[in-house]
Each structure stands twice: as structure tokens, then as C-alpha cells.
């Protein structure tokens, strides 16, 4: 996994969080909870990996609002822009 912030990187993080290296059917609007059955522990793994890769901390009160890969990417780009 490289450090570029893009949708592919988010997909890789989703696969990591769900322990599903084989996951191929995923797109920006895939609902992580309804379609992929992610739970709160998966969300924890997402934010920990995002923080590890890019040094960006997603505010706690935002985490439960992030439902799709696109929402995660938007937040990460936003935080990265603010950090730059």
C-alpha cells in the first residue's frame, strides 16, 4: 500500500478493515455497513489505518457518519488539505 490518497487506497483500506483481500465488488458509493456488513470494529480498523498511513486523525464524532468509500476519501482529502 503506498501513501497516495486516492480511491484505490481507500478500497485497500476497506479490504484490510474487513479482512477481505478478495473483495472486488466495491465502488465509491458501496454502503460499507449494508452492502459489505462492516461493523463498528471495522470502522475502528479504517480510522486506525488511515491515521497510520497518512497521519490524519478523523474526529471521533464523524466516524459513525462515514458510510461509503467516497465519504472516507472526501474526509481524508479535506483533512489532508487542512494539514498541508
Amino acid at each position: 500500500m503506498n501513501n497516495t490518497i486516492d480511491m484505490q487506497a481507500i478500497y485497500d483500506i476497506v479490504r484490510y478493515a474487513l479482512d477481505r483481500d478478495d473483495l472486488e465488488t466495491i465502488d465509491p458509493e458501496t454502503h460499507l455497513y449494508k452492502d459489505l456488513h462492516m461493523d463498528s470494529m471495522g470502522a475502528v480498523a479504517m480510522v486506525v489505518e488511515i491515521e497510520r498511513l497518512w497521519g490524519l486523525r478523523i474526529p471521533d464524532d464523524l466516524i459513525s457518519k462515514l458510510m461509503t468509500p467516497k465519504s472516507y476519501l472526501d474526509v481524508v482529502l479535506d483533512l489532508n488539505g487542512a494539514a498541508a
Binding site: M41, V44, A45, V48, E51, R52
Partner: protein, 252 residues
Amino acid sequence: MEQTPMKPERAAMIIGASGDIGGAVAAALADMGFALTLTHYEQPSPVELPEPETNGASAVRWCRLDVTDAKAVREVMESAIAAHGPPYAVIYCAGVLRRSPLMLMAEEQWRHVLDVNLTGAFHCLQVAARTMSVARRGRIVLLGSAWCHEAPPGQAAYAASKAGLEALCRVTAAEVGRFGVTCNVVAPGAVESRSLMELDQVRSHSDVIARTPLRRVGRATEVASAVRHLLTEEAGFITGQTLRVDGGAFIG
């Protein structure tokens, strides 16, 4: 030209380092070469600590901390991270004893013991678990008590808080294991300390020794040795466990 001190290779935090066991744990970890952030509520421990090599960074920092204050816990732990980098080890030694029969116990007394012994640990774990999970490494050790399996009269709050600590440890271990972080409890039995004097009021010291297979009370350094072991490479596959250091007093 003034050089910026390097962050030490390994850092640890001991929450509640001013008691007998906390002080012994601090000495053990200093001996292992950790840069330390130590917290106290009233006074720092008088224990003398060997100064580890840290290329100029201050190796031992004392901070006053009320563990019942979540914001203060976050600030102190973040200051430790700023000074020494993400901690490799966080040891929770803070605890209070308030003796009272259940039927006479004031609610304030119950809440205070639970707040310091259990909720304080929760406050620290929230910061430690996240920091260590991001760093993909870490060892958390909580100081429990073998007495919580004994039911000492007058210690409902203490026993409940320490039993709760073991459950908190197991769940934490289950949640952070995938990130390479372990969480364990070290549960002392009768150990030479100021706390033992309070806990042991309902029976004589000699009664406790008589029921202990090893026929003595333990030493704070022996509890610290158990903590020390859990921080070694060799203990890397131990998590979610309670290690009793009780001379066998509660084995049956």
C-alpha cells in the same frame, strides 16, 4: 549549534507511579531503558530511578494527574507522546481503597473507587489503544488484584472495580490484538505495601500468610517483575490474561 534531543527508542507511561507497586514498576522500567512519563495524584514517588540513556531528552517526567478527568488524561498522555514519542508500554497502577460494609457505604464512596480504579483505566486505555494501534505495537498492563476473587468484606467497591478491570482487559485485548497490541492484567495478592494494611483489616497478617502456600507476603518488586516480563519480546503472544502474583493464596 543546539541539537534537538532525539526521541528515545522506547517510551513508557506509568499511571499512578507514586505507590509502592507503581514505584517498583517505574524502577523496573527505568532499568529496562525506557524513557518514562510517570503520573501521581498527590506526591511523586520517592523511589530513586536510574536515568536511562536518551541522547539528551529528559528520560523521566512526572505529571500530576486526576485519572477521573478524561480531558486531563488525554492532555497528559499527549504531552508524553510529544516528549518521548508514542509509548511502547502503558501501565495503569492508579487505585484507591475505601473500606466500608456494603449496607453502610455512601454512594460517593462507591463512585470514587469505581471512578479511579476502573473509569480512570478506561480513560487511559482510550488514548493508549488508539496510539498503539496506529503505531502497530504496544503493551498495556493493568494492575488488578487477586483479592477480587476472594470477596474481602468491606471491599465491595474495590473488588468490583478490580473484577471490572479484568473484563475491560479482555475486551481491549480482543479489539486491539489485530494491530499488534497486547493487554494483560497483573493481579497482586498480599504484597508489602500501604494498601495491604487497609485491605487486611478483617484478618490478621499471620492468617494471610498461613493460607499462602509460599508462607509469606509478596514484595512490590516481585509484582514489578511480572509487569516487566509482559513487556518483553518473549511475552508477545500473551494477551487478555490475568497473571496473579499472590504466592498461591487464591488457588483453591
